[in-house]
């Protein structure tokens, strides 16, 4: 098999198609949710809505993750919180601050930005992969989580894990020839792009909408902590 030709396919037409499906899918989800509409709230606002939004994001992204012990979610399930946190931190570092991924963004957006040194990104990638392994073991061993998990949960895990592990193998030239590892990485990424809009991984976008709406309501009622 000519893996270089396959690589050209997964980097070229397949990626292109996956990206368009991803965009169409995310817009579809967004429009569908937006058209659910809002109930008209007749009460007079007691605080600033914009202020509420700002505080909501500060709390959700910048403050609470760094003082997690005050959160109930952390107190009840510290392993899940830490593993999940490391996974997200590693994921974002790799996707946005890893050199090869920045070049992807650059080619798509037309501009690039400085990136971190490979060893640093690498350690966070390892942390993310270990985080994912811990999470799946936890999901299988915790009685409640196991009951809550259906095929969708495991597939979500798998379709995110495959690009992560294939990317790591590729970066370190392990086991396979480079173009083989690269093809597998691209194949898993292409499939993930198609999968995301129709799965709960779409929370990468909806998280920001729910944070915003929640912030608006907090601000309006002046109950922001």
């Amino acid at each position: 098999m000519d893996w270089n030709a396959f690589l050209a396919f997964t980097r070229g037409p397949l990626f292109y198609a996956s990206l368009l499906i991803f965009i169409a899918g995310m817009v579809y989800r967004l429009v569908q949710v937006a058209m659910l509409g809002w109930d008209k709230d007749q009460s007079v606002a007691r605080g600033s809505k914009a202020g509420g939004v700002v505080k909501s994001f500060l709390k959700g992204i910048l403050i609470l993750p760094f003082i997690p012990w005050i959160k109930g979610a952390f107190q009840k399930r510290p392993i899940m919180y830490i593993a999940g946190g490391l996974f997200h931190l590693g994921l974002f570092t790799v996707i946005f601050l890893g050199t090869p991924h920045m070049l992807v963004w650059k080619s798509l957006l037309g501009f690039g930005w400085p990136t971190l040194a490979l060893p640093f990104v690498d350690w966070l990638a390892v942390a993310a992969i270990i985080g994912m392994l811990v999470l799946i073991v936890y999901r299988r061993t915790d009685a409640v989580l196991r009951l809550l998990s259906g095929p969708a949960e495991y597939l979500n895990w798998l379709f995110v894990f495959l690009p992560m592990i294939s990317g790591y193998i590729m970066t370190h030239h392990l086991f396979f020839r480079y173009e083989v590892a690269y093809s597998l990485h691209m194949l898993s990424v292409d499939w993930m792009l198609i999968w995301i809009p129709f799965s709960r991984i779409s929370h990468f976008m909806f998280y920001f909408f729910s944070r915003t709406i929640r912030g608006v309501e907090w601000g309006k009622r002046a109950v922001t902590p």
């Binding site: 368009l20 169409a24 058209m35 992807v104 480079y178």
Partner: protein, 364 residues
């Protein structure tokens, strides 16, 4: 002419025994041979056989073997591969293969011209039918019934098929002959093809590159001359000796790749310090070639050492493999605004439709 062995011919040309053995040594190196044939064949006890050298095997072969005529065809090429050969800095090897041994027909190098040369080629092909080695440089256009490339009024495809018919072995040198190269680049106006896409029923050894590394071409020719067989090939019919590992694997800038130190432009501090050229579009990681080990001009340098990223010229379709200076991780195509717009529109329409349907269902 053909009755003399290679060694006898060289001797008559004034090559001494010492020079001959030296050339054999170069050949051994060029073919990447470091293994002895099975010990059982040598009729020696194992502890003695271990000390024997491949060089004597090569010398013996050249002492006894008749010269093999080489017919070198050029089609849609730039003669760059021939140029690389003649300007190569390993004169022993190239002299041996090009001048001393047996090039019988080569448009660029032949002193004679016109019908005289063509007649000579026909005569050689008849006299050595089934014995001569065919080397092809350049792609073969099939468009317009082959009118894009003709020699002596005949199409390239016609000439190739005729020559291939009586050839003992076929070597395609350069990316054009191997995989179509530049002439085949999008939109491929002449419908160019590589040799192996035309001679589908024959084994074609590919020595891709732009140009092919002279030592890889001569090394492969030498392998055939010495042993009468073709070297071991990979899945794209490239000799594993020269195309076994990637440029990246043997790159002198590899440690910088591992350390995450990249040149960001051709003139920044990183470039001056010799850091990795991955961000500048280097295709080394997916390119199988011997540039980083054999190098060019007698081992002086190779593109990456001189500060230019690898273009991937020994791989099929390298002209259309994304921009030369675009990082290898970047997707091959950037989605057009229209396509993104269309995808968004589809999303809006389907999303709104679904929402409306849900609402209707709720009311009903």
């Amino acid at each position: 002419m053909a009755e003399k062995s290679v060694y006898e011919h060289l001797k008559s040309e004034g090559v001494s025994r010492r020079e001959f053995l030296k050339a054999c040594g170069v050949l051994v190196g060029a073919m990447g041979m470091n293994k002895l044939p099975p010990v059982a064949d040598s009729n020696l006890p194992p502890h003695l056989a271990r000390g024997a050298k491949v060089i004597y095997q090569v010398a013996e072969a050249l002492e006894n073997k008749p010269r093999v005529p080489v017919i070198w065809l050029e089609f849609q090429d730039c003669a760059g591969c021939s140029e690389a050969l003649t300007r190569s800095q390993s004169p022993t090897l190239v002299d041996l293969v090009l001048k001393q041994i047996s090039i019988e027909y080569h448009e660029t190098l032949t002193a004679a011209a016109g019908h005289q040369t063509e007649a000579n080629k026909q005569a050689i092909m008849e006299q050595y039918r089934g014995q001569y080695l065919l080397v092809v440089e350049g792609s073969i256009p099939l468009g317009a019934d082959g009118a894009y490339c003709t020699v002596g009024g005949r199409s390239a495809e016609d000439i190739l098929r005729e020559a291939a018919d009586g050839a003992a072995a076929i070597i395609a040198t350069g990316n054009c002959a191997a995989f179509g190269g530049l002439p085949m680049a999008n939109p491929n106006p002449t419908d160019a093809k590589g040799v192996m896409d035309i001679l589908t029923d024959k084994t074609v050894v590919n020595i891709p590159g732009c140009p092919a590394i002279p030592e890889a071409t001569t090394g492969t020719i030498a392998h055939f001359l010495v042993f009468g067989t073709l070297p071991e090939l990979d899945d794209l019919n490239r000799p594993k000796t020269f195309y076994g590992v990637t440029v990246h694997d043997r790159c002198l800038r590899r440690p910088f790749y591992e350390a995450g130190k990249f040149a960001k432009s051709f003139d920044d501090e990183g470039a001056k310090k010799g850091w990795c050229l991955y961000k500048l579009g280097c295709k080394g990681p997916t390119t199988y070639n011997a540039c980083a080990s054999i190098k060019w001009d007698g081992g002086t340098s190779f593109p990456i050492q001189s500060g230019h990223p690898c273009l991937g010229c020994s791989e099929p379709g390298f002209w259309d493999g994304g921009g030369f200076y675009q990082g290898q991780s970047a997707p091959l195509q950037r989605p057009a605004i229209g396509a993104v717009g269309a995808a968004t529109a589809v999303g809006v329409v389907v999303g709104a439709g679904m929402a409306a349907a849900n609402k209707a269902q709720k009311k009903g």
